[in-house]
């Protein structure tokens, strides 16, 4: 077993968030 990416119960720590508009502004900021 190899953990490639750690998961989290905290959604804001878990990984990127996606938002469709404007053109992915949010997702770019939070990655």
């Amino acid at each position: 077993m190899e953990i490639i990416k750690q998961g989290s119960d905290n959604v804001f720590e878990a990984g990127p968030l996606n938002c469709c508009f404007p053109a992915g502004t949010l997702s770019l900021r939070y990655q």
Partner: protein
Amino acid sequence: MKPSRFNIWLKDYPGKDDYVVFNSRTQALVKINPGLKDTLDKLEGLNPEELSLFSQGCISALKQNGIVVEDDREEEARLQDFFRQLKYDSSGLPFEATILTTYSCNFRCVYCFEESVKDDVFLSKDTGDLIVKWLIRRAEERGFKRVYLVYYGGEPLLNVRPVYDISWQIKQWAAGKGISFGFGIITNGSLLNPDLVDKLLSVGLEEVRVTIDGRREDHDRKRPFVDGRPSFDLLIENIRKIIDKVPVAVSGNFDKDNFAGIPEFLDYLEELGLLAKLSRVDFAPLTPRLGPKANPGAIELGSCLSFVGKDGLFKEVLELKKELLRRGLKTRTGLAVNACALLMREAAVTIDPRGAIYKCNALVGYPEFSVGNVAQDDFNLKFQEFMDIEAWKSCPRDCAYLPMCQGGCRFFSYLENNNFTEVSCKKEYFDRITPQLIKLEYQKFKDSA
């Protein structure tokens, strides 16, 4: 104990008999050998104490990552908490606001999603001051540690004075409070120049994002000036002049019409020595938009429905992501949780040139969907109406994509059903694209290790 219902498995990856599992709630990504997979498949009926110490250690690690859960009740409680966090707990994120300095534009893009609301309305000094007061009041009330603004339009640089004025005031306030501040601009790039960038850098400019839709002939067909003149060469020249001063990102829109030319465009940027200097490169498929104001439910851009439909741009989306990653460019793999600002209390807002506040840029210019105005302290009833939407509760509980998808985009629900509340199921699309995105994500982590 049992495996989570939000696990998405890849078999025979990265090698034969290997497994990779991604959990759509915790976003954990784990490589698993066949023996452990076998144990997981039988886990529900097993007494954990009968497992080897090694297997027990693995199961414990998988439990910490949400791949294994105690039982359905625990998993449901964690799912409820996941949605509660998204709705109410985002104050740890930066306070982000998009400000439209005008609805006017000097381009006539063939797919403009603001086409129906374009107008010669410019953000005034008075409304700009109200925006500053509103942002500061809200940031202080909520205790944000960082404020990030995005200027947008229309074409934001057609009305650049408020960009400077608002940013200067927020920067002064933030410095006095020890709060981090910065801003970005999403522009068509036609009015960029080094002097302007120098001035804006002094008030907090962190990134300029220019939209280019691929190679010259494709871009000029899709994004000409209002009078029909081509814009591609001017944009490249403007980027060249400012790229050593400020991070510049390029993003583009595509459909089947301009998709094939994008690698050639990337080659061209490389030849010019610009590609490696870009802070980020992203391309997104065109999406539907609201129709004329008299009939806002209409879907005008038929071809882009394919993005969420049966066939769509599935192959193209993947090919482009692979191409960008292959070139070592910073880009999104797309594997992420869908954080819909419409449903989040503290999430980003968009403020239009009239001071109207929106929670989704697809809705700007339609006052009936505005959640308030910077002239008032409180949001209106629409804000709570959006907050109360819980489409995900109507999704099948065993859908592995539920935390990522959350019942689909609320804007698409409006386009499809004329209301914001119904499920806009994307399972077919997720079934096709998610395994590929997991592979890209796996490769990205391996490459960076």
